[in-house]
């Protein structure tokens, strides 16, 4: 606690030293003047014999500045003093920093919410979306909606999935609007047609029933399987567990 108390009583120590040195100079000047010297001359001689006052104050302070911490504290206080001396500059600097930090925080918050947190899947940071880039204009292939560059022919998908060493696993999906008929009502919904490895790749487990597997990945021969989103299940079926296995 000794050093802490010392840290905060520094101001007083340094004020005392400055005053003491000032008093010393004044006393000497007074004596020289009393001895018949002109005041200007006396001041000059007193200062010359005393030496560099600023340097001396610094050396005197160094006696107390025993630790690096204190030295940092001293720099900090100096910086604050300088800032207080030029409020215009301080205000501009603080405003700029505040604005910068605010904008960064806002952007990251949006990025975090939209891109990072809305993907309740395993390792969201490692998921990539494949896009095709061509040097030539290939024309539009806008089947449903979305970005035509993300559409791949099935053989191309197979080749990428099996021969790729850049990608650990590759799954395919495409979206389409469908009409779902249940009980007596029909409802339009957005469907996503996915490859059999889609769910295992994302590491998503179902609450009820099962998700699609590789055995479903058979053209025209697999059983008709669908996975319902949790929100759809809650919204349209009241989370009824008996929705399973109904035609």
């Amino acid at each position: 606690v000794q050093w802490l108390r010392q840290l905060f009583s520094d101001g007083q120590i340094y004020r005392d030293i400055s005053e003491e040195i000032q008093q010393h100079l004044e006393e000497k000047i007074q004596e020289l003047v009393a001895g018949g010297m002109k005041p200007k001359e006396a001041e000059y001689q007193a200062r010359r014999e005393f030496g560099n006052v600023v340097l001396l104050e610094e050396r005197t302070r160094e006696v107390w500045q025993s630790s690096r911490l204190e030295s940092i504290w001293f720099d900090l206080k100096y910086a604050l003093r300088q800032l207080r001396k030029s409020p215009g500059f301080t205000l501009a600097a603080v405003f700029t920093l505040a604005l910068g930090m605010g904008v960064n925080t806002a952007i990251f918050t949006i990025f975090d919410r939209v891109l990072l947190r809305t993907m309740p899947i395993r390792k969201p940071g490692e998921i990539v979306l494949l896009k095709e880039h061509s040097r030539f204009e290939t024309g539009q292939l806008d089947m449903w909606a979305g970005d035509p560059e993300t559409y791949f022919a099935y053989p191309a998908y197979q080749a990428l999935r099996d021969g790729g060493h850049m990608i650990e696993k590759l799954a395919a999906s495409t979206t389409a609007p469908v009409t779902i008929v249940s009980h007596n009502e029909a409802d339009k919904a957005k469907m996503q047609a996915v490859s059999g490895n889609y769910f295992s790749l994302l590491g998503v487990q179902p609450v009820l029933g099962r998700v699609l597997t590789l055995s479903d990945d058979v053209y025209h021969e697999g059983s008709a399987v669908a996975v319902m989103s949790d929100s759809y299940w809650r919204g349209h079926f009241g989370s009824d567990p008996s929705v399973l296995n109904q035609q």
Binding site: D16, I17, E19, E20, I21, Q23, H24, E26, E27, K28, E49, F50, G51, N52, L55, L56, R59, T60, E62, V63, W64
Partner: protein, 116 residues
């Protein structure tokens, strides 16, 4: 602290100024400027305390608790910081003076003409 009559301005050994300050303060408490004058006077002006070096020395003594200080109004009606030696300062002084005397004795023996 250079000897006044030496243009080379050689320094004394480390701690010399502190010993002289402590000894001066043992005689009577005084402030910085008075210390400069006192040492100058006592040494028949052979030693002139470089005024600048006095204050760091005083701060070192303060920090080590060998002296104490307080602001007072001097006889000339000036606000001065007066220094006073502490009991541990007296002890330190005695130890240092005895060490200094030993050193001086050693140097004197080396410098004196050899006795046959």
């Amino acid at each position: 602290m250079p000897p006044t009559n030496n243009p080379d301005q050689r320094d004394l050994f480390p701690g010399a100024l502190e010993i002289m300050v402590l000894e001066s303060l043992r005689r009577q408490p005084m402030h910085g400027y008075a210390l400069v004058k006192h040492i100058k006077l006592r040494s028949n002006e052979l030693l002139l305390v470089e005024e600048g070096s006095l204050y760091p020395a005083l701060q070192r003594l303060l920090k080590e608790g060998l002296v104490k200080c307080e602001w007072k109004i001097s006889a000339t009606n000036r606000r001065v910081r007066t220094y006073r030696i502490t009991p541990s300062g007296v002890k330190h002084l005695e130890r240092e003076v005895s060490r200094f005397n030993q050193m001086l004795e050693g140097i004197t023996l080396v410098l004196s003409p050899a006795k046959l």
